[in-house]
């Protein structure tokens, strides 16, 4: 593996209700295709795309999961090793938006606490059938401390941006993590708390983590990295 030609390797897992367009987002990004009449995903699909960001080769392993309930136990097993989760809903489907808290609970339960979560409202090409307003989604994502973006896999709107911005963030996060690890002694395990009640607590925890990374970014000898981070804040 180490012989392969890349500087970073990240795992990105797409989750969300069935039929919100996860597979189409992945296809659009990795193959530039929009396959009409895409059948439901069985289990998980796996795609790889290597992109170059600021001269660094970033290999993105994209796991496209099935939204249907019966595959839940398969998809859940991928949360933990994910560097980023793309939580997708369909802007023309109120139900897919209403299920988001349930998905967040799953993330809480199974994912690493360092995971980056992005909220994506797909299918903006069907704006006339919109059921979930941009403002509502923005408020929700803010309350949950998530990045938020609206996309159209069909029109290829914001799809590149979604993955590339995410890759940028992951690079910064990875740099800061190695720094934090060098400062503090590494702790075993991820200290993952399994409980439904720790929802707000863990947001505090996440806040702390981002505080830590902010602090550590001050230690970075390159001001460039900090700038990039700020840039990313704007991008999202």
């Amino acid at each position: 593996m180490s012989m392969e030609d890349y500087d970073f390797l990240f795992k990105i897992v797409l989750i969300g209700n069935a039929g919100v367009g996860k597979t189409c987002l992945v296809r659009r990004f990795t193959q530039g295709l929009f396959p009409p009449g895409q059948g439901a995903t069985i289990g998980v699909d796996f795609m790889i795309k290597t992109v170059e960001i600021n001269g660094e080769k970033v290999k993105l392993q994209i796991w496209d999961t099935a939204g249907q309930e019966r595959f839940r136990s398969i998809t859940q097993s991928y949360y933990r090793s994910a560097n980023a989760l793309i939580l997708t809903y369909d802007i023309t489907c109120e139900e897919s938006f209403r299920c988001l808290p349930e998905w967040l609970r799953e993330i809480e339960q199974y994912a690493s606490n360092k995971v980056i979560t992005v909220l994506v409202g797909n299918k903006i090409d069907l704006a006339d059938r919109r059921e979930v307003s941009q403002q509502r989604a923005a408020e929700f994502s803010e309350a949950q401390d998530m990045y938020y973006l609206e996309t159209s896999a069909k029109e290829s709107d914001n799809v590149e941006k979604l993955f590339l911005d995410l890759a940028c963030r992951l690079i910064n996060e990875a740099r800061q993590n190695t720094l934090v690890n060098n400062v503090a002694s590494p702790l075993p395990g991820e200290g993952k708390s399994i409980s439904y009640l720790t929802c707000c607590l863990s947001i505090v925890g996440k806040g702390y983590a981002s505080l830590m990374s902010n602090v550590s970014s001050h230690f970075m000898d390159l001001g460039k990295a900090t700038q990039e981070k700020e840039l990313n804040h704007h991008q999202f």
Partner: protein, 756 residues
Amino acid sequence: MERIRALTDLRELEAAYGRLCAEEKVVEEELEALLEQQGTIENKMVALHRMGPNLQLIEGDARQLAGMITFTWNLAENVSSKVRQLDLAKNRLYQAIQRADDILDLKFCMDGVQTALRNEDYEQAAAHIHRYLSLDKSVIELSRQGKEGSIIDANLKLLQEAEQRLKTIVTEKFDLAMKQGDLPQVERFFKIFPLLGLHEEGLSKFSEYLCKQVANKAEENLLLVMGTDMSDRRAAVIFADTLTLLFEGIARIVETHQPIVETYYGLGRLYTLIKHLQVECDRQVEKVVDKFIKQRDYHRQFQQVQNSMMRSSATEKIEPRELDPILTEVTLMNARSELYLRFIKRRIISDFEVGDSMASEEVKQEHQKYLDKLLNNCLLSRTMQELIGYYITMEEYFMRETVNKAVAMDTYEKGQLISSMVDDVFYIVKKCIGRALSSSSIDCLCAMINHSTTELESDFREVLYNKLKLGFPATTFQDFQRGVTSAVNIMHSSLQQGKFDTKGIESTDEAKQSFLVTLNNVEVCSENIMTLKKTLESDCSKLLSQGFGGEQAQAKIDSCLSDMAAVSNKFRDLLQEGLNELNSSAIKPQVKPWINLFLSVSHNIEEEEFNDYEANDPWVQQFIVNLEQQMAEFKSGLSPVIYDSLTSLMTSLVAIELEKVVLKSTFSRLGGLQFDKELRSLIAYLTTVTTWTIRDKFARLSQMATILNLERVTEILDYWGPNSGPLTWRLTPAEVRQVLALRIDFRSEDIKRLRL
């Protein structure tokens, strides 16, 4: 000329004259050359004149030839147009014969059908109808327009009636045969349908018959299941067996009837047959799975597992061992389904392939889509996916709980390097992944690999980490403070285990042993993970080579396995942490005082003391004995690899500490020699206990000994700079001066004067 006249200057005139002369010469030469050619040209002219009459002859000949060609062309055109006419006539004749034949056939069919129907020779009748149906419609039109139009019209009507009658009769007879379960009759009429252009109906009727057979057999089997004695050898997998029988039955039907379908219905029709059969298959699968869920209490068990995973309370926790049989059965059920689905997939693909060999790309893709839809959307697939979904959660629970049990029941036998839980845990993990693998579902396998990675990385590693965190207790007389903390740790851990051990010293020994065993455990874990990965790789490649899994199966498995392999490194890191802890808490506190004893042995000595040291070694022998005793404890308690790493850490420690005390001592000439001897014995000893070279670690000390052994200060220059030869100095010039200053007989001015 004007210009020449204008010339007045003599020189210019001469120059002009000269030029003119030169020009004249050139012109003359040219003229001569032309004159020379005159002869040849005249010759050629003569020859041309001679050719004149010949040309006239040729012209005449050519004209004649042209006339001949035109004539021939006309002739040929004449002939060929006649041939064409003949050809046309011949073709029309053939067509006429064909039509006459067709009309005769039609008549023959009309008569034949009636007779055949009267004789109940349905095959013959159908053959006649088939002939009629395959006739050119224009022929029929034509024959109507003939003289006998009205008769033929009437006959045609009869024929059409006969066709309808035959269709009804065949359908009726087929239904009757089906009701009576008369296979030869069923097959007889099945073969007639395509002759009447009723391919779809025939296949669907025949499938109906086959489905009924499947259903009957399945019901029989299910009744047998319900009556199975629980003590039966196959009782634990009876539902998997029932599914197997169902699938085998359908496979056999496909196998037996594929040739008939191919022969009488043509290629590419198998899909239709299987699509019909799949409906019945789904119906039967549903029944079997329903019974399975009811009888095995599958959903309740899943619910219970889910509850205990969420609340993590001890109340009503389901015993993992109870899940064992049902987990095995579910994976077996899925494996059978995958096998069956793969079978029909292959059959349909190869049938389509032959049937579509001439078809366009679009048709091929369309057919592929049909197939995917059939395989993915059939109830069998969905039901199995659901069962496997529950299975994964339950298997994860089984693994976690059993691992917890193995950890709780951890025992250590004297003489063993590792304790029981390592083997137990890996046995469990292997078993769980192996079971997932046996389901033949790649997604199920990957999910269990992921869960195992999590289990090993967080839960099990945490267990080992916590054991290492207790530390290696120092022996009481060595480091009082450490002793206290470790005693507290021991108390703490014993309290946690619910028993308080008052036997202080013994528990210290136990804690020591526990630490060493844990180190061994960590190392074996790291190795076992790599072994597990390799084993799984080869197992998976076997599965993939049998054609299970989609195109990405290999990539998915590789990714999941490489995540698992990464955990091995985490265990290595933990081992390193543990070794550092051992080195600093157990070795350093002991070794440091022993080395400090060096300070109490004067190295500012004369001949007499030197000789005395020779007889009664003042330090190094005892130090070596102490080291040996100290390390013996670890050598027996640690695996060779870890022991090696530990001795490496220990030798580094010795080198660093010894350097410190040397720099605090003073030396005479003989004292330097004494130190050199001591260092040599020490290095000789340490070389015997380590597998790799330690010269490098002691390079600085050896160089210090060299300096302390010098006769004069300036002698250093024999070894320094350009004179250093193969020797690479590890000491800086400042350090060299510092070491030189340790010699009491070296004057500081001499040292200062040195140019290094």
